[in-house]
Symmetry: C2
Subunit: 153 residues, 2 copies
């Protein structure tokens, strides 16, 4: 998992300049749960709390990242695109908060990619500080088939 996460974070920082500016980091991945965070300084707003757009971007990329990691696990390739999303902001984010998403909460079967199908995957990503829910994001991602990767065996 460590190598996958390093590759994912490198992919983000190299191809999405905003993710590098945000200093987005993966903090945990255990095969089911992916957690990311971003420091407040580059992501603040004029209230000195986290900017709504940064929170959204953090939760979007955490969701996108979980799908990317699933594709690695399945030995599949696909283009992951966000089709639509909604987000609720429940409390101001004052400091580094934790974005997390679980595979167990995901709806959608990526193995249909092997049959050349587009797959929709619904994810719920939550931003928390301790036990407190600060924001909740629901994203409907579409994964389009790409070349099937050769299994590393």
């Amino acid at each position: 998992f460590t190598r996958w996460c390093a590759n994912l974070q490198q992919t983000w920082h190299q191809t999405i300049p905003l993710s590098a500016f945000m200093q987005l980091q993966i903090t945990q991945f255990d095969g089911n749960l992916l957690a990311c965070q971003a420091p407040l300084a580059p992501n603040k707003n004029l209230h000195h709390t986290m900017f709504a757009g940064s929170i959204y971007s953090l939760l979007t990329l955490t969701g996108w990242g979980l799908i990317w990691l699933q594709l690695q696990a399945l030995g599949l390739q696909g283009d992951i695109v966000l089709a639509d999303a909604d987000i609720r902001y429940l409390a101001p984010v004052q400091q580094d908060a934790r974005a997390q998403v679980q595979l167990l909460d995901a709806v959608g079967d990526l193995t249909a990619l092997t049959r050349g199908r587009h797959v929709r995957q619904l994810l719920t990503v939550r931003l928390t500080e301790g036990d407190r829910l600060l924001a909740e994001f629901h994203g409907r991602f579409v994964v389009k088939p790409a070349t099937v990767a050769v299994s590393a065996g």
Copy 2:
């Protein structure tokens, strides 16, 4: 309007680092319609189109900006916060696209601020390229009363 827009853009760039990194710019304001844009380079994703989080941030700030401009017009002060939002991505954004929002489409009466009330304002912000709709954002903002500004006369 020119001075208000200059102040708004300066407020964004000085207090929201992400907006400066995105190179967010106001391109039009006529008292009803506010249009903004951001160049593709700092906002791209790994498909070389605009990152979903950048699109969302552009539309959020365009909506936030219209409320800020309304407050200026009414001689009121208030803290503008996004409570929740949804967004649909309809087509990839290949180059500089135009985010626009109209006061005529807004739902919510800001003058209730003068009676010490919180005001909810619903805004629809659209991202277009020519006649083509690329993304649509609905945001529910809350404006909290602050000190009433002295009219400049």
